[in-house]
């Protein structure tokens, strides 16, 4: 066994590409060194390097391989070709099972030899998402200029040049050299082993382990915050990003000028995060604290005084810019910005944002009405719908698109719009993602749904449906947003009718696929919550019930029922009936219509007929009143009657009319179960 160490030292790698690159390096090495039984892989990444350490066998042992050649008696030419390809003579071949076979024995391959061949190949083909050329003529590319390759096997350099086919690859070749911190420890040092490399880097002010850097950032920022009795706004994405920017993270705290503390907290946070990669902090009351945390790249000689002052100054300039937009934007009423949306294209085939705002407004009114809101709220929904996109023309949203909605809300409030209206403008983008809350205020809900209904109907109408991999208009997210908003608020809406409203008179094959698309999103969502796929198939067999709340209640009632003993047996009986009918219907079916009581010959038949007579109205009433558990109960009570029927009655009676009548009775039973769900879909 030998320790293989590989480090690619370069100029600064984009933070967001490092983790993936280290992972790729590990998996590509593992694949390339397959014969050496690679194991115990560890990867490292940081601002200027990616590295991998793994254990491999000392050699690929001697082996024999056999190659199958042409069939015995194949034309001379075929045999000739085979021997030429392998550089052997027909005398070297043996005949096995009617084929000519070449048995070759391969010499052992040393790890060093395999590595020196595999690594340059891997580096030439490395899958950076974007890579570049540099220098005077080499076509070797890397994410940024590659400066050193360290490749060691148990501490000894595995010598190889990167050059190939007359390309000098910048003269790069394997060495045992690495570098520490750019400013604190310039120059190269010798690597002896992976662990010495890691220790030496730490001595040279590089924390090469990502988890350690994360820890330094998290605990360091938390400690600084604690000293001021404040807390940090958790942001794992930002922690990862800054950990890819610094080799030696040093958390520092800066002050926010009091003059800017009246800016909306969201504006401050977005400006700090996007522009500066600073962490936002909160007072115990949840309001923005007048501090920011940032991560320096070295322990500064002056404790960070100069750099803190510098960062504070930069933030003042950033906030001055934000204040410029904040002040300027508020000079124009949001309502007066609506006409400006006529020049903002939404989509070439779907018109401008102004047309979209009109549509959302109208739909929001319709949804509000369907939700049973009062006249004031309906008008508020329509008003908020019209204003919903107006902040797209503000300077602040132009600068920070992620603040769309949020800014509209602030500006609407500033204009003196009703609280429900400004809130709806702010909240209609909810939920923005999986972990985001849905809108709860009724007017906000109406606008949030209208926004998404218009989006879905519009893109389906022009045939822009999501494909397997691509969903450029985030239609899946929009559909899920509708589902979540309706569920969270327990809304009794007829989605089918609302889609028709959103379609706005448009028709077409693609548009007709929308309900199925929604049903599929619902299925995916419920599956991820642990619902059984067969139960969902049974409920969704006829497509989407426009009333999601009803559909969900039905799903959970069915799910509960099939877990009871009665339910399971009923299911078995239903399947048995369905099977018999399928087979017999093929012969001379279908066997529909009311069974004739005169033709019953056994009590068990009459009992089942009576049971069904009683159950059907009970089920229908229960379904109508949405007492799904009761409906399930009503059908489940048939279980003993059914058991007796199947025990005592031979459906395929010799007398044709008796047989036909029994099949009609079973058919009636199947139709009764179908009132509840498609039982045939349920497994077990």
């Amino acid at each position: 066994m030998a320790e293989l160490f590989l480090e690619l030292f370069s100029e600064e790698i984009p933070s967001g590409m490092q983790a993936r690159a280290a992972e790729d390096l590990g998996s590509l090495l593992t694949k390339a060194l397959d014969g050496l039984n690679p194991r115990d892989l560890r990867t490292f990444f940081g601002a200027r390097r990616i590295a991998a350490v793994l254990n491999i066998d000392a050699e690929i042992p001697a082996r024999s391989v056999s190659e199958r050649g042409p069939r015995e008696g194949a034309p001379e030419k075929a045999l000739e070709g085979f021997t030429r390809k392998h550089g052997v003579t027909p005398a070297d071949l043996t005949l096995e099972n009617g084929f000519w076979v070449l048995n070759k024995s391969l010499d052992p391959v040393s790890a060093e030899s395999r590595v020196s061949e595999a690594v340059p190949d891997l580096l030439w083909k490395f899958p950076w998402p974007k890579s570049m050329r540099w220098g005077a003529g080499s076509n070797f590319t890397w994410v940024r200029p590659l400066r050193r390759i360290a490749c060691l096997l148990d501490g000894h350099v595995v010598p190889f040049p990167l050059a190939r086919d007359g390309d000098d690859a910048h003269g790069l070749k394997a060495s045992n050299l690495s570098e520490g911190h750019r400013f604190l420890a310039p120059g190269a040092f010798e690597i002896l082993s992976a662990s010495q490399w890691q220790d030496e880097l730490e001595t040279r002010s590089v924390i090469v382990d990502m988890d350690s850097r994360r820890d330094m950032v998290r605990t360091g920022v938390a400690r600084l915050a604690e000293q001021h009795g404040i807390t940090v706004v958790q942001d794992d994405g930002l922690v990862d990003e800054v950990c890819g920017l610094v080799e030696y993270p040093v958390p520092l705290l800066g002050k926010i000028d009091a003059a800017f503390m009246d800016l909306p907290a969201e504006v401050m946070q977005v400006s700090m995060r996007i522009n500066q990669r600073y962490f936002a902090l909160r007072n115990p009351d949840g309001k923005a604290a007048p501090y920011f945390a940032f991560i320096g790249n070295l322990p500064f000689k002056d404790g960070g005084k100069l750099t803190t002052a510098g960062n504070e100054r930069v933030l003042r300039a950033r906030f001055a810019d934000a204040r410029h937009f904040w002040d300027l934007d508020r000079k124009t009423k949001l309502a007066d910005r609506v006409p400006a949306l006529t020049v903002v294209t939404f989509h070439a085939k779907l018109g401008t944002q102004a047309e979209r705002a009109e549509r959302i407004s109208k739909l929001a009114g319709t949804v509000a009405q369907a939700m049973g809101l009062d006249g004031v709220q309906i008008a508020q929904a329509e008003g908020a719908g019209l204003l919903a996109k107006a902040d797209l023309t503000t300077g602040m949203v132009g600068e920070f698109p992620e603040l769309q909605g949020v800014m509209g809300g602030y500006y609407a409030a500033h204009d003196g719009e009703d609280e429900a209206v400004s809130r709806a403008v702010a909240e209609h983008y909810l939920p923005r993602g999986q972990s985001d809350d849905t809108a709860k205020a009724p007017v906000s809900v109406a606008v949030a749904l209208a926004d998404r209904l218009d989006l879905l109907a519009g893109f389906f109408a022009i045939g822009e449906l999501p494909s397997g991999s691509g969903d450029p208009y985030a239609l899946r997210r929009a559909a899920l947003g509708i589902i979540r908003t309706i569920r969270d608020n327990g809304l009794r809406l007829d989605l089918t009718a609302l889609f028709a409203q959103a379609a706005n008179g448009r028709t077409g094959d693609e548009l007709a696929k929308l309900p199925d698309f929604m049903a599929e999103r619902l299925r995916v969502q419920l599956r991820s919550e642990g619902e059984r796929h067969d139960v969902l198939a049974a409920i969704l067999t006829h497509g989407l019930d426009g009333d999601l709340v009803r559909l969900l209640a039905r799903t959970s009632a069915l799910s509960d029922m099939i877990q009871t003993e009665d339910g399971r047996n009923l299911l078995a009986a239903a399947k048995r009936a369905a099977n018999i009918l399928r087979i017999e219907d093929k012969k001379d079916g279908p066997h529909t219509g009311a069974p004739d009581p005169e033709l019953y010959t056994q009590d068990e038949e009459r009992a089942l007929a009576t049971g069904l007579d009683q159950a059907v109205p009970a089920i229908e009433t229960a379904l109508k009143e949405e007492r799904f558990t009761d409906a399930m109960q009503a059908i489940a009570t048939l279980r003993p009657t059914l058991d007796h029927f199947f025990e005592a009655v031979t459906v395929n009676a010799p007398e044709p009319e008796v047989r036909a009548n029994r099949l009609k009775l079973l058919s009636r039973f199947r139709a009764t179960t179908a009132l509840i769900a498609d039982f045939g879909q349920i497994e077990g």
């Binding site: 570049m132 604190l184 920017l245 610094v246 500064f300 933030l315 001055a320 294209t345």
Partner: protein
């Protein structure tokens, strides 16, 4: 930087000239037509093409009509200076050279937080892109660092290192000033505002309110036609001049708010076509010339 007085604006430029001159750069003077960025100068754009080495540094006044703020914003100007360096081929120690130049103007990387933050640079109007970084000093972007990969839609056969310093920002940082108009210009009491405030106010009015859009449109069309004609005649730099004029006219039209979103892309495409033709003409000339 602590004991000595910080550099005034013009001394900062002189120090950079001194530094890059000692590194072997030709110190050129600003190009004499309106440019949106130092990159657009033919001393960078055209020279980045083809297989001939090149090293030059120059100050370039830049015009961004829509960034005018009537002299009221402490950080934004519609006219400002960039210090531009082009090194071809890319030196091995490109990053070190930049850091040394910071030391030369009084920024000590052990006291300040210098960071190379990913930036995929792209300029669609001249069909150029490259990979590199924004270079941060204590959280402020003070330079742009690009390894050119393509210019005029043509891959660079010999990639170059492009360094662009935002001079006002850098000077504000070095001087510890928060309003650009307060910058010490010459070390003898003249401020940046004394030199440029009036111009910022007047140009802002011109850019946003007064410029004759019909005339600008006519000029744009003229420049476009002329540029194409000159490229076809094989005179690359005059053709490129007309492309630059068209680009600036487009920026003015944009600031006047007469270009809709959908038209924008089409204008950018038209300017890019001019840049491409001029770059092609330049390369064709390089192949036949004796240099």
């Amino acid at each position: 930087m602590s004991a000595t007085r910080p550099l005034c604006f013009q001394d900062l430029i002189l120090r950079l000239h001194q530094f890059w001159s000692e590194k072997g750069c030709a110190i050129l003077q600003p190009y004499d037509t309106e440019l949106g960025a130092g990159t657009l100068s033919p001393h960078t754009t055209l020279r980045a093409l083809g297989p001939k080495p090149w090293a030059a540094a120059y100050v370039q006044p830049c015009r961004r009509p829509s960034d005018g703020r009537y002299g009221e914003n402490p950080n934004r100007l519609q006219h400002y200076y960039q210090y531009q360096v082009l090194l071809k081929p890319t030196p091995e120690d490109s990053q070190q050279l930049l850091l040394d130049s910071y030391r030369a103007i009084g920024i000590d990387p052990e006291l300040h937080d210098i960071r190379f933050v990913e930036d995929d640079w792209e300029n669609p109007t001249i069909g150029a892109w490259g990979l590199g970084w924004e270079v941060w000093c204590d959280g402020m972007e003070v330079s742009q660092f690009t390894y050119f990969q393509q210019v005029g839609g043509i891959p660079t056969v010999m990639p170059s290192t492009e360094l662009t310093y935002g001079l006002e920002r850098l000077a504000m940082y070095v001087q510890g000033v928060e309003n650009v108009y307060d910058l010490d210009f010459n070390g003898r009491g003249l401020t940046y505002g004394d030199v440029f405030l009036r111009a910022e106010q007047d140009y802002s009015r011109h850019n946003f309110e007064l410029a004759d859009t019909q005339m600008l449109l006519t000029h744009f069309n003229d420049a476009e036609r002329e540029s194409m004609r000159l490229s076809e005649a094989g005179v690359a730099q005059p053709a490129y001049d007309q492309c630059l004029k068209a680009s600036h006219l487009f920026n003015l039209l944009d600031a006047r708010g007469v270009i809709s979103v959908s038209e924008r892309a089409s204008y950018i495409g038209r300017v890019r076509a001019l840049a491409k033709a001029a770059c092609d003409a330049w390369l064709a000339g390089e192949e036949t010339s004796h240099g």
